[in-house]
């Protein structure tokens, strides 16, 4: 049980540690604080988006111990001590991840709202399965709804990144 601190008004908060993008972050949260909100409002990691907030759209996707989850259906206290990767943790040493490069080059981003979640789902897929088939890519991002692109460029971008190229094939 995380340490609980009750303020003078009787509101109980929990001292939790979230290992976010490689850094241990200690935050004081109420029991009912949703992880998406804590990431965005307490840790300023606003790359994690709020869409449906009910686990349908995937825009709040983060990696929890390397696995994609919808952070909107998770209490922050439940993530105490866990490893979290948000979109801010995907680029390393100032360099975009191959998936991000590829998505830019394939024009796989339109409004961009689904993109952070989409990148994280793709990242988890390529970590587990570096050379996926197209159906495997489609399945991996099935929990990330995009209302702009029709998915074609996104799927092409992820496949290209898995093949070590980030530029689009000639059309």
């Amino acid at each position: 049980m995380p340490q609980a601190i009750t303020d003078k008004d009787g509101v109980k908060r929990y001292l939790i540690t979230l290992n976010v993008n490689g850094d241990a972050k200690t935050v004081l949260v109420k029991g009912n604080a949703i992880l998406t909100n804590v990431l965005r409002d307490e840790l300023d990691l606003t790359g994690t988006k709020k869409g449906c907030e009910l686990g349908d759209c995937g825009s709040c996707t983060i990696l929890l111990d390397g696995k994609p989850v919808d952070s909107c259906l998770m209490l922050a206290v439940e993530a105490d001590g866990r490893e979290i990767t948000t979109i801010e943790g995907v680029a390393a040493n100032g360099r975009l991840d191959a998936i991000q490069e590829s998505m830019i080059n394939h024009a796989a981003v339109q409004c961009g709202y689904c993109t952070p979640g989409m990148v994280l789902s793709a990242k988890a897929l390529l970590t587990r399965n570096p050379h996926p088939t197209e159906p495997e890519v489609r399945e991996a991002i099935a929990g990330n709804l995009c209302r702009c692109t029709g998915y074609v460029h996104i799927v092409e971008a992820v496949l290209a990144a898995s093949q070590g190229r980030t530029a689009p094939a000639d059309h």
Binding site: A33, L54, G55, D56, P68, V69, L73, L75, A124, G143
Partner: protein, 289 residues
Amino acid sequence: MYMPDFEYHTPETLTEACALLDELGEKATVLAGGTDVLHKMKVGKLAPGHLVSLKNLDDLRTISHEPGRGIVMGALTSHNAIYTSRLLQERYLSLPMAAHTMASNQICNMGTVGGNIVNGVPSADLPPILIALNASIRLVSSNGERTMPLEDFFHGSAETVINQGEILADITIPDQPATGSTYIKFGLRRSGALAVVGVAVSVTMDGDTLQDARVVLASAAPTVMRARGAEDFLRGKKISDELLAEAGDRASAESRPRDSIRGSAEYRRNLVGVLTKRALRKAIDEGHA
């Protein structure tokens, strides 16, 4: 989105969790994967005074084979843990496949088999295939434990026989003679959709005679249901396309679906027939698939 307030508890053992449930009474709700409980809290359908989180009960996250008993699966096993279990894939691939198709990857990483059962909704994807595989469940409370066939657990839409203070601990799939099983779900999109209708079957073949069969329907009645008329009809018969079609018709006639936004009762009844026939054929031809 508004999230109601509650007291949060994280017991370290199942015994401690049961004691908490006794102490807190009806104000307490058990939290496992959270994909249903938090969803209900956000949409205003549930406002428990206390959430008792099972997140520290790692013993309930294991899948193992116990000789003489069968495969025992902790209630906190996630859908993706079922999908990726080598043990389950080798013995009953039908169950990992049902877990895999039940929702998006994100939800499959969060949601648990226990939650899928305890919620008691008729569209849940795991109960039908588990019942087809003759699974039993173990409910634990401070007063002891009881084991029952999973099919006896449900008695109405979102109504189960679980008592206040009880926690579903694990699910057992017994070693069995069934030679094949499968679950076919029909949803409005290929991924992440609730079942308009789902049909799970298991078959025990002796040459081309069906020694035994189970036909279990999702979203076709207020609870998950066995189509016992179809099962009785199939028992001991030599298989043929006509036989499987007739079994489908019987299952269809037994089903008690309702009209809903996902499909009319008439459409669902028709689907039960079609999917029953297909599922039987698949389990007969492909084994546990």
